[in-house]
């Protein structure tokens, strides 16, 4: 076994263990922490594939920014242990075997029908310079559209999360009632 394969298996085990722990935990904060572990291990996989920039962005944006947002909302709403109903027990009954079956099916298909050529460690130079040249030449239009998307998302988040408008007229109407 090469070092590359050992590292791949180590990160992969952390990934799968974190993903299963996300399903097993009932408290959302535990699920969020295991998701952070999954994302950090995935950054390791990206490094093995030679995607340095993607690995760095994965840690900074995903494991950093997005998960901080999740943890912040969990603490803001004081989310507790989720309560199970009859319907959710039935969902577990069918969901867990479905997940196992789906995983095994995907694994079988991939192992038998995809290429078996090996991917070398760092096969592709994914350094920020080459990625940036590609991003700002060939993918310039999608990049600009993405900035508009981000702007809309910021405004949408502010509008949705802000308190309902309490105009003087509404307050007056409530007083009349």
């Amino acid at each position: 076994m090469s070092v590359h394969l050992v590292l791949f298996l180590a990160f992969g085990v952390v990934c799968i263990a974190g993903a299963i722990n996300l399903l097993a935990q009932t408290h959302p904060i535990n699920s969020a922490l295991s998701l952070i572990a999954v994302m950090a291990a995935l950054a390791g996989e990206y490094l093995l594939l030679g995607a340095e920039f993607v690995a760095a962005v994965q840690v900074i944006v995903y494991a950093g920014a997005i998960m901080v947002l999740f943890v912040f909302v969990i603490m803001l709403l004081n989310a507790g242990v989720e309560d199970r109903t009859k319907g959710s027990r039935i969902a577990v009954l069918f969901g867990v075997p479905g997940m196992l079956g789906g995983s095994i099916l995907i694994a079988w298909v991939m192992l038998h029908h995809s290429g078996t050529e090996a991917v070398a460690a760092g096969a592709l130079p994914g350094d920020p310079r080459t990625l940036g040249q590609l991003l700002f030449h060939e993918f310039l239009l999608p990049f600009e559209i993405t900035s508009v998307l981000i702007l809309i998302a910021i405004m949408g988040a502010v509008v949705l999360a802000s308190k309902p408008p309490s105009t003087p007229a509404a307050g007056l109407a409530r007083k009349v009632d």
Partner: protein, 100 residues
């Protein structure tokens, strides 16, 4: 040297875990985290294919997926806050009316 199929299997397992979490979880925040898990599984297959075909565009796609995921997380969590403000619950079984 790791075969491409190993990466795809790992990505498929992560995606399946995300689907299962989406189906069996009842907390709306955890459901949202399952969606992020699915996106991560897809990202891994993008990077693996990029390395396999020597096409750097795959890594650019991962970049765009991350941007969309960030926007989605911001808007989705704002919606969760709005839902919690009107319903006082995070359980999706109790969020079954469009209007209060």
């Amino acid at each position: 040297m790791v075969p491409l199929s190993y990466y795809l299997v790992l990505s498929g397992i992560l995606f399946a875990c995300g689907v299962a979490g989406f189906l069996i979880k009842r907390n709306i925040i955890t459901i949202f985290m399952s969606i992020e898990l699915m996106l991560n599984g897809v990202n891994l297959s993008f990077v693996a294919f990029a390395a396999h075909w020597h096409a750097l565009a795959g890594q650019i796609f991962v970049f765009f997926v991350m941007v969309v995921a960030a926007a989605e997380a911001a808007v989705g969590l704002a919606i969760i806050i709005a839902v919690y403000r009107t319903r006082e619950t995070l359980n999706v079984d109790q969020v079954n009316l469009l209007k209060l």
